[in-house]
Symmetry: C2
Subunit: 157 residues, 2 copies
Amino acid sequence: MPTIFDKDARDPSKINTIIELLFFAYRDFIADPDEILSALGFGRAHHRVLHFVDRKQGLTVAELLDLLGITKQSLARVLKQLVDGGYIEQREGPSDRRQRELYLTDMGALLIEDLRRPQSRRICEALASSGHGEDDAIRFLSSMIGPNAKHQIETLE
Amino acid sequence: MPTIFDKDARDPSKINTIIELLFFAYRDFIADPDEILSALGFGRAHHRVLHFVDRKQGLTVAELLDLLGITKQSLARVLKQLVDGGYIEQREGPSDRRQRELYLTDMGALLIEDLRRPQSRRICEALASSGHGEDDAIRFLSSMIGPNAKHQIETLE
DNA sequence: AAATTATGTCAATATGGCTGACATAATTTA
DNA sequence: TAAATTATGTCAGCCATATTGACATAATTT
């Protein structure tokens, strides 16, 4: 019994349009911070690290690796640059001294704010001009992600 | 006079959630086709080329470069692999013989269909479980993209 | 005391971008 | 017609970000 939500009820050409818009939207979405980053000699990888360290201050290297889905060798260079640049601080784990807890410095907090600003603006504009609310976007995007990522996000809270 | 659409009326933590969800959603969104592609020795770059050649059969190399926003040197390798593999066909421009019009072969059409299937499924699921329609997503995403990309999309039609 | 764990590091490799320089053929312009 | 421009292709080298595999160190657990 087909409903309005039935997969077959969808217009394939509109779905294809959405696929294409996702490409352009995501590209433009990361282009803004990219400019700020490249002026500092950083890239997207640095942005993602700053985001997650801000999202959960004091997270460990292992947690960060899990969130990013990359290897420790890939993270190493990026993290070192952020630490050397004074954007991130590493502290010994309080209960397990092998762990390195990651914290944003004041400079790091300012930087992630700068990076977030154009992205927030873009999202707010899109919500306004499409007439949707924050929760609409959150509901849609939450359903786009797989169970794996869902679990990762839960561990952030 | 602030309205319900006023930027300052937005909840910054929800906007930050949307930023984060976009990261996870896009990552998962391209992970599905990535598996199919890597089995063929291809990558995301090949996917994008196939998408746009399908979107506008007979587009020229210059048009494709403009859409992708990369240099011809970057495109060269990817395009060559797709042509050599029998997924894309190049034909002399009918009015300007310097141009190379790009067309999908039957094999190329099958491949882009395969790549599109998991992405369509994911979008349909997200629309269904969030209670939105195709047009909601199209309106939101269209507002996310800049005027530059907007113009590019228009030239596709 | 031995095994495991968290982190870091070295080396080699792949992908997908980039710039600069140059080549060829076709078209347009003076 | 000759010269300039354009569309495309190609060579060479560089960069950022990822990978795998191997190994080192210190701390914790068994």
